[in-house]
């Protein structure tokens, strides 16, 4: 198959996105930013999945991506609810101040 863009480009981009996600997760203190970083990591992985799926003509990779998206959606729903609850009780979104489960 005549590919316009070689596989390695996708993988480098995927790795870059994932690394950005990891870095954001580690550095940022705002819970929402961390949350977004997690999404970024998931999407970085998704990109590599579809890239491989396209490359190998294997459908499984694309199906995995749908699963990941579904789980990510559910996770963001639950996560955002938790974040709102945290903000309501502690009036902050700084993770360093949210190190206790009990108040």
């Amino acid at each position: 198959m005549n590919q316009l863009v070689p596989l390695s480009y996708y993988l480098v981009l995927s790795g870059f996105l994932f690394a950005c996600g990891v870095a954001g997760f580690l550095i940022k203190r705002n819970i929402i930013t961390i949350f977004m970083s997690i999404e970024l990591m998931l999407n970085g992985v998704n990109l590599s999945f579809v890239a491989f799926a396209a490359h190998w003509h294997a459908l499984a990779g694309q199906i995995f991506v749908f699963f990941v998206m579904v789980v990510a959606a559910a996770e963001s729903a639950v996560g955002l609810a938790i974040i709102i609850a945290v903000y309501r009780t502690r009036e902050t979104l700084n993770v360093d101040q949210v190190n206790l489960l009990k108040l």
């Binding site: 990891v22 997760f25 580690l26 993770v95 360093d96 190190n99």
Partner: protein
């Protein structure tokens, strides 16, 4: 052979007594404890007597097999070895048996009176019975190994009884000293036993001696038998308090007085003499070892006697006297006159046991005082004690017809006439006899004559209890109760007549089956009887001279001794301090040992090496876990960071491997 004599009962009875008193005595009354203690030691005595009743001379030596013990290899096969719990009775062990059980029983009776007020009354009797068990095992053993058990056991009992009042520091250390000094001797004894095993493949007396008998005497030079003999003598030196290991015996006087009488005068300390006599077959074939025995004995006799002159503690005088008399016994063994040594052992058990019990009675009378300078004039207060002590003193001083005269004279004659003897031994022996007579009468005069120097006690008699534990503290000197006096009287009787069995060499003939005949007669028969009587005259003369000198110095001119002491300033101090032998040993052996143990073993090996390695292992573990602990901070992001770092490492590794 008659039917079984059940000899095993003799040692087992006191053991049963020891067990009963030791286990149940604490809750029992004093009367019950006394009954048990006396019954079991008395029963041993009665059984020993019944053995004599049932046995005839033809049956000796009698062997009794009790139980299997050590069996290695088939019997008789080369390299095999066996030792059983088996007993052996011949004339020699018979005499020891009677002395141990008889004197032991008398001292048990005496102890009832003497120890009645002691809070650990039951413990005392338990130990005393235990001692009897081990001593009888020693005496009746059929082989060296069983003998060694008894040998160590009496050491243990001696340790327990010396340190009986263990809350007193001096008593506790005296016990330890006795035990440790004895270990040195036992070391020699053990090596001798190893040599015997190696060369004769047995420890059985009969088997060993049967192999030794055909060997010619090692006259040319020191050989195997000489080595064994000298090592056995090292063991005997420890147990029987001979130079250079005698130092423990005077300290052992820290124990209760009946203990001093039983263990440290009459029985245990004579175990060495018994052992050497038992091994006569070995010694007779090793003239050099015999010479060593004789020299050690003679030196000890003289050396200890001179120390005895200066001591003021009544029990210390008797202790040095015991050392000196044991020296006589070894002198006899050393010139090959084993029967004379055993004879003296027997009479010594009577009169020295009596002297110690009498001293105990005196101490009892003056409320625990042991310093003779605080006594004096006790003759009228305690006449019975005085009478018996007088008899014992006459006996030990060698004044006829008391027991000590016969045995001591026998030894001196043998020292003079035996082929192994020498006139030097005789001369030193006579000088020692003079000194013995002097210090014994000095003791008698200082204690019983003159004026009473003791501090007069107050109304309730609780005044001056320097030696508190022995004390009773009631009023002026008083006679001991009957239970203490009766043993004194019986022993006094024995001290009078005990020597008569030696007249006409009857004692020697009795022991002939054991020791053989004609061995000791060296000089010509013709001259000997005239010679013997003149030598006897000399020793009697010397005994009276000693007594007279003591009378002169301590009764007639009581101010003289101090003057003489001042005149002999340096020498007197040296003797008074026992020639500084204890100090010398402390410098030579004890201090280097303690220093070495402290600086090398304790501070060096133990603390620097063992402690430090354990501590640094623990420290290292703590440091590592201290650092590792920081990883588990509870901070979510640091965990995430670790995960990221970890996966980065894994990925890097995989890439690296992939590249290769």
């Amino acid at each position: 052979m008659t039917s079984s004599l059940n000899l095993w009962l003799i040692p087992m009875l006191p053991l049963a007594g020891a067990a009963i008193n030791g286990l149940l005595g604490k809750k029992s009354s004093r009367t019950a404890v006394s009954v048990v203690g006396l019954f079991f030691s008395g029963a041993a005595f009665v059984w020993a007597l019944s053995v004599i009743w049932r046995i005839s001379v033809e049956d000796l030596p009698y062997r009794e097999y009790v139980a299997h013990w050590i069996r290695y290899g088939a019997i008789g096969a080369p390299g095999s070895f066996s030792a059983d719990f088996a007993l052996y009775l011949d004339q020699l062990s018979l005499i020891m048996l009677l002395v141990v059980t008889g004197v032991g029983f008398l001292i048990h009776i005496y102890s009832v009176g003497y120890m009645w007020d002691d809070p650990s009354y039951y413990r005392f009797f338990s130990y005393l019975n235990l001692f009897m068990f081990f001593m009888l095992t020693l005496v009746l053993a059929n082989n060296y190994l069983l003998m060694f058990i008894g040998w160590e056991g009496v050491g243990l009992a001696s340790y327990l009884l010396i340190g009986f009042w263990f809350t007193k520091d001096s008593a506790a250390s005296a016990g330890k000293k006795a035990f440790i000094v004895n270990r040195i001797g036992d070391f020699g004894f053990l090596i001798a036993l190893f040599l015997i095993i190696q060369n004769y493949h047995s420890l059985d007396f009969t088997k060993v001696f049967a192999q030794v008998q055909p060997v010619a005497p090692e006259t040319a030079g020191a050989g195997l038998l000489t080595t064994i003999g000298i090592l056995l003598m090292v063991g005997a030196c420890g147990k029987s308090a001979q130079i250079p290991l005698y130092v423990w015996l005077p300290d052992a006087m820290e124990g209760p007085t009946p203990v001093s009488a039983l263990i440290h005068a009459a029985t245990m300390v004579t175990a060495g003499v018994y052992m050497v006599s038992r091994s006569h077959m070995i010694f007779e074939r090793a003239p050099m070892a015999l010479m060593v025995v004789a020299i050690i004995g003679t030196l000890t006799a003289l050396f200890a006697a001179t120390i005895g002159i200066t001591q003021t503690d009544i029990k210390k005088v008797l202790a040095y006297s015991t050392v000196s008399q044991l020296g006589y016994m070894f002198m006899a063994c050393g010139v090959g006159a084993f029967s004379a040594g055993i004879f003296h052992l027997m009479t010594h058990a009577f009169f020295k046991g009596l002297l110690f019990l009498g001293a105990g009675s005196v101490i009892h009378a003056v409320s625990g005082e042991q310093d003779m300078r605080q006594m004096g004039g006790l003759k009228s207060y305690i006449p019975w004690t005085f009478g018996t002590m007088l008899i014992a003193t006459l006996a030990i001083a060698g004044i006829p017809p008391f027991a000590g005269f016969w045995s001591k004279d026998e030894i001196l004659w043998k020292a003079y006439s035996s082929s192994h003897g020498s006139h030097v031994f005789w001369l030193v022996g006579v000088i020692t006899a003079f000194i013995t007579s002097f210090y014994m009468f000095r003791l008698l005069f200082m204690t019983f004559f003159g004026d009473y120097h003791g501090i007069q006690v107050d109304d309730h008699g609780r005044a001056h209890l320097a030696h508190g534990d022995d004390a009773h503290g009631h009023g002026e000197p008083h006679e001991s109760p009957m239970v203490m006096l009766v043993p004194l009287m019986i022993l006094a009787l024995l001290s009078v007549v005990g020597g008569l069995v030696g007249i006409g060499n009857r004692f020697e003939h009795f022991l002939e089956p054991v020791f053989g005949t004609g061995f000791t007669e060296g000089t010509g028969e013709a001259a000997s009887s005239v010679m013997e009587y003149s030598l006897m005259g000399i020793s009697i003369l010397v005994a009276f001279a000693g007594a007279f000198l003591a009378w002169f110095l301590y009764i007639s001119k009581p101010y003289l001794p101090q003057k003489i002491a001042d005149g002999l300033n340096g020498f007197y101090t040296a003797v008074l301090n026992k020639y500084y032998v204890d100090e010398l040993y402390a410098k030579l052996f004890v201090k280097p040992l303690i220093d070495g143990s402290t600086s090398i073993l304790w501070q060096g090996v133990d603390r620097k090496f063992i402690d430090d390695s354990v501590n640094s292992a623990a420290d290292g573990a703590r440091t590592i876990s201290d650092n590792a602990r920081h990883m588990q901070s509870g901070n979510l992001r640091s965990y995430a960071g670790w995960i990221a770092a970890g996966s980065a490492v894994v990925i890097a590794y995989m890439i690296w491997m992939g590249v290769r």
